[in-house]
Amino acid sequence: MTHWIVLPIILPALVAPFIVLAARYHIGIQRALSVAGVLALIAVACGLALESADGTVTLYQMGDWAAPFGIVLVGDRLSTMMVLLTAVLALFVVLYAVGSGWDNRGRHFHALFQFQLMGIMGAFLTGDLFNLFVFFEVLLIASYGLMIHAGGNARLRAGVQYVLFNLVGSTLFLFALGSIYAETGTLNMADLANRVALIGPEATVGIRVAAVLLLLVFAIKAAVVPLHFWLPSSYAEAPAPVAALFAIMTKVGAYAIIRVYTMIFPPDLAVTSGLHDIWLLPAALVSLAIGMVGVLAAKKLDRLVAFSVIGSMGMVMVSISLFTPESIAAALYYIVHSTLAGAALFLISDLVRTGRGNLDLTNQPIVSGNSLTAALFFVGAIAMAGLPPLSGFLGKLLVLDAAFDSDLAVWIWVIVLLSSLISIVGFARAGSILFWKAHSVAPQEGIEVLPRPAALSYVAVGGLVSLLVGHTVFAGHVHSYTTTMSAQLFAPEPYITKVVDTPGKLSKPKGDY
């Protein structure tokens, strides 16, 4: 048994207290440690992704206790890819935070950042529902601190809403876990998959309630309408690097839905029939529409980006809720795209704020560093709106293709295409107000011109944008990998037997009792 798989959790968990205790007053050392930690995390994540690329399921038993009794970490293609995505995103976010000086506007940015990474990594790697809850709480409590980093009234007020909404979500999660445990007597995902399949059709009331509660919890995390109300103001008010990191947090919800509803409650299970196609799919379509209408209606750039995140999560959820191998593969491709594009846009909106002083979409004098910021916004907006040639277009194409056989195919096509049009108009409006009309507004006398954003900020945003380009250029490879990933998700037996049948040091293998 190798110990590599526990490193993505242990490493940030060690770096964070070290930053707090040893480098408290030295922002330079904090930055160096944080960047080094993230670089090491990327190396570990690459190793894990390579290890699981051939379909190997890596199992790690905490304290060498066998599965239903001990806590397990499991790495398969999906979780290692999400870990890698998080680590890569974290690198550019931390570079931006350093470059723009955001990390020095409040205290403990880097420590909280590492704790947040620990929670996200743990949520992706755990094989146990209760531990999923615990890691959700770890990432949430770190995100509360990050959300109100640098203070300010508007941010604190948005922070209160964000914290309260998530506390309610956590309580719902506990109710769901309680009812699952009462029905099945286990919380290990692989063990649950076996036991839920054994529940007869006459005794499904409890497990149905649990499945719906669990879906609600993950839908809150994924900001699916009507559970999206926490997202716009908290993402808009959060410091830009934090909002960019939060781009992966909605994906934690999407990941949890994919994991739980392919393994524990697979789509052909009679107990939860109708949950995806009757409830989740229409909600996802509405989120897509509301998100993109919000893009058009937003009066400030940060809200515009927040709504575009809701819209792209709607797109991801549309694809997930079809629950065919093709649609999950398309959803996974789109998840990578949407994380990178959302994060890039949040950082770009901070570039605009740095060079302009505010984010109101009104006619104002020209932004410092106009041409480069405008070019980056142009690329980011094309990606997010789903115009060719970037990965948003390919992702939407894959989703539309996967939706071809659905009963609601007409609705999906109409809403996806119309909402794309609306978001194109919204982004075009914002871009032309910010960058083109500004040329016609004469700068007022006596107002000092704001400095250009730092070069490192541009490097970070440029890195994210070039990853988007790479995601487009290598779309064939990425998509064939996500296809194998979804094949592994739809054939969970190797995962389940690996987790359930691997003996621990203190328990004998089955049959020896």
Partner: protein
């Protein structure tokens, strides 16, 4: 006893949700506390209700209490306690900063709101 525990959970949840739908931070935080109490009792009951039963394997004992929900409840209590402390501090900061303890989003037109509508 089942009736008693079930109605306790129900009343706590109902009270919690009622308070949660208030618009000021203090009742909302109270509501969340009530909800976490409800969920703690609920988790506790998810391992079946037993009286005086031992949670550890011993010779000659037939009935056991399930120890796992007790561990889960401990975790849940610690987490919700910490979270409540965090939310109290953040909402106190927000209240002291803007002199307004409303939870809903009014910050954008806050300036032109007259005192009478509060």
């Amino acid at each position: 006893m089942e009736m008693l525990v079930a109605s306790a959970i129900g009343i706590l949840t109902a009270g919690g949700i009622y308070l949660l739908l208030r618009l000021r931070t203090f009742p909302v935080i109270m509501g969340i506390s009530l909800l976490t109490y409800a969920v703690n009792v609920f988790l506790f009951a998810s391992g079946r209700l037993t009286i005086g039963a031992s949670p550890i394997l011993q010779d000659g004992i037939e009935a056991y209490a399930d120890p796992l929900p007790q561990a889960l409840v401990l975790t849940a209590i610690v987490i919700s306690f910490g979270m409540t402390a965090v939310v109290v501090m953040i909402s106190l900061g927000a209240f002291l900063g803007s002199d307004d303890d409303h939870v809903d989003d009014q910050s954008q037109n806050h300036d032109d709101r007259s005192e009478g509508t509060l």
